[in-house]
Symmetry: C2
Subunit: 413 residues, 2 copies
Amino acid sequence: MSFFDSRWVPCPDHVRDLGAGLPAGFRAGAIAAAIKTPGVLDLGLLVCDAEDAVSAARFTRSGVLAAPVVVTQRARVHALRAVIANSANANAATGDEGMAAATTMQQVAGAQAGIDADQVAVASTGVIGVQLQIGSLVDALERDPPQLTAAGDAEFNQAIMTTDAFAKRASLEVALPSGTVRLSAQAKGAGMIEPGFATMLCFVQTDAALAPETADLLLGVCVKRSFDRISVDGQLSTNDTAILMCSGASGVRVAPESEDEVAFGVALDALLRMLALLMVRDGEGARRVGRVVVRGAGQDEVERCARAVANSPLVKTALHGADPNWGRIAQAVGMAMAHSHPLALDIDIEGIAVCRDGAAVPYDAQALDAAAAGGEIEYEIGLGSDTVRPAETEVFFSDLGHGYVTINADYTT
Amino acid sequence: MSFFDSRWVPCPDHVRDLGAGLPAGFRAGAIAAAIKTPGVLDLGLLVCDAEDAVSAARFTRSGVLAAPVVVTQRARVHALRAVIANSANANAATGDEGMAAATTMQQVAGAQAGIDADQVAVASTGVIGVQLQIGSLVDALERDPPQLTAAGDAEFNQAIMTTDAFAKRASLEVALPSGTVRLSAQAKGAGMIEPGFATMLCFVQTDAALAPETADLLLGVCVKRSFDRISVDGQLSTNDTAILMCSGASGVRVAPESEDEVAFGVALDALLRMLALLMVRDGEGARRVGRVVVRGAGQDEVERCARAVANSPLVKTALHGADPNWGRIAQAVGMAMAHSHPLALDIDIEGIAVCRDGAAVPYDAQALDAAAAGGEIEYEIGLGSDTVRPAETEVFFSDLGHGYVTINADYTT
């Protein structure tokens, strides 16, 4: 099956799915460091061999930043050459002891890779408020250093998974006007997801050569159109991190404002949107993915309405139950648009008009039931049918089912 | 068992629980009008016999107002003498046809009670976006008019329940300095609950004599401290309505700024807070009730943090599972306080300190586990331990369990 398997994110014409493997200039691996469960991969290392590597990064906007986020923000974020990442412990709300642990991870990874510590990013995911056993983590790393290879992306990805039901990674070949480059990514994310500027964790590599400004611009734009547009449970994490690293090993330079930049940007955009969609599809206990598109007069109001619908437990349980109960959508929009009665609200589900100008309209209930039973359901909302609607936004969201409750009520995650 | 059965809402000394019955000057009853299921009470009528009755009302701030809300807002809200209320259909997002149906309900109820239509409040609760079958509703009302009695509060309450697992009503005797009065209330609410200015539906009656300004002031203040401080699922309804009606039949006048007003206000406050707490306790599928108290420098920030914690599905599933996973509280506060790192965050659960100045502190894990297994869990959050904290707020919230998913994923409600 192709990586691009959603009607919402078609594979661009100049992109080919390679299945696995890192671009030239990158190596990765992972070990089982017994951070929680012995024998399970939980510590990954990814290294870029290019001394002049270029990078860009985005982080959570949370007011409670995990120690690894703070440590990485203080590193040389435009010249990162390595990532050390662990699962099973977020190293968040851990104070000075947590900061020391994250700094130690950075230093040990740098020493093992032969890279300055300030070019090493640190990322963690897992339980919040529990100290990382840094001594045994370092022991494990020194006793059994990860074998770094160009095929190590699968192991690296495995090591950063927590409640993820499946891996989220890709390896793509991208035909640019000036030559062919590669693009790969490893991501994790299934719960505590409504990223602010980034996702849970996502690491992207390319052998294209990008200037730091280009890498930063492209990552910023693409993150806004992908991880910034999804929600599993409306919960911003303390650890969200997205990093793009460019080795330049292909010899193909992506110049600013060139056709190469456009083509590279299209590929990166599709890659991150598909990864974001996979996170929603893997939303804890999820069965269906919803996409809400809101059109209205102002960007602020369409954003508020889209988030209100995507995060409504009533809409999400209806999505789970394949119940096309659009009254709950009207309720969520009414909540987001307080004191705006009467609202000239239009609602369509899978192209079927159910509400016009704030009131129910007749529709084929059987056709609607059938449409609501699919795996991907699209909701279109119009605010004010008689006005011009220059603003539009979308949010992808998972449903809310018993699995979410089971995962989150019965285990400390 | 006493109506006041929570440590958070003690019974005031001058209040006595009567169990049932309406104050002097009020009669109520209900019928089965087959709005959804034949044979089930689903249409209630409550009448005040005093021609000079005084009333006050609060409504949802939703941008999608149900037709009965609009109709009641246009009525004489300070001189209401009757309430007609139905369950099983919200009459929301129903356009002109819905407005006509709500107006017809108002007129027919007025005619049956011998009261001007503009002194009749209309309230509905149930599914959104489905037209009310007003013809058969009127037929049922004329064929089988409700028997109105002073003991009809139980039937009336029954008629306004939807997914409620238990009735929420009270009948109290209140000893004021100037004499003894009675206070009764019937409420419903189990889901789609994070009221803006009011609750789902709550009707309050007293035989005390209040000026319209006094009734409005007291209802407004008490609603802000009760229905405005609860959340089941963070979802503002299209139909929230709270109405206080005063017959004056006791002959006891509650004068503005008198000791009577203080004593009456204390009783009304306890009544509404206990009803609000019952709604949370009956939160769809709920097992436990949480109370989050936030103290900080500004009212806006404590409000945002309290709502973020109360509405976090991660906090709510942990509450359900009796898991004292305070890391999820830190996450929710971090989300509410974006871009504020580092936060000097303090967290206590049932009086046990688990986080100080943003970092985990050692605690007795066994004692914490035991505290988290109770029916009522209190979370205290401090924002900035070294600063003065003049602002404080509280929100009562239900947990999120399998029952919520079952109720909302499997049925159109």
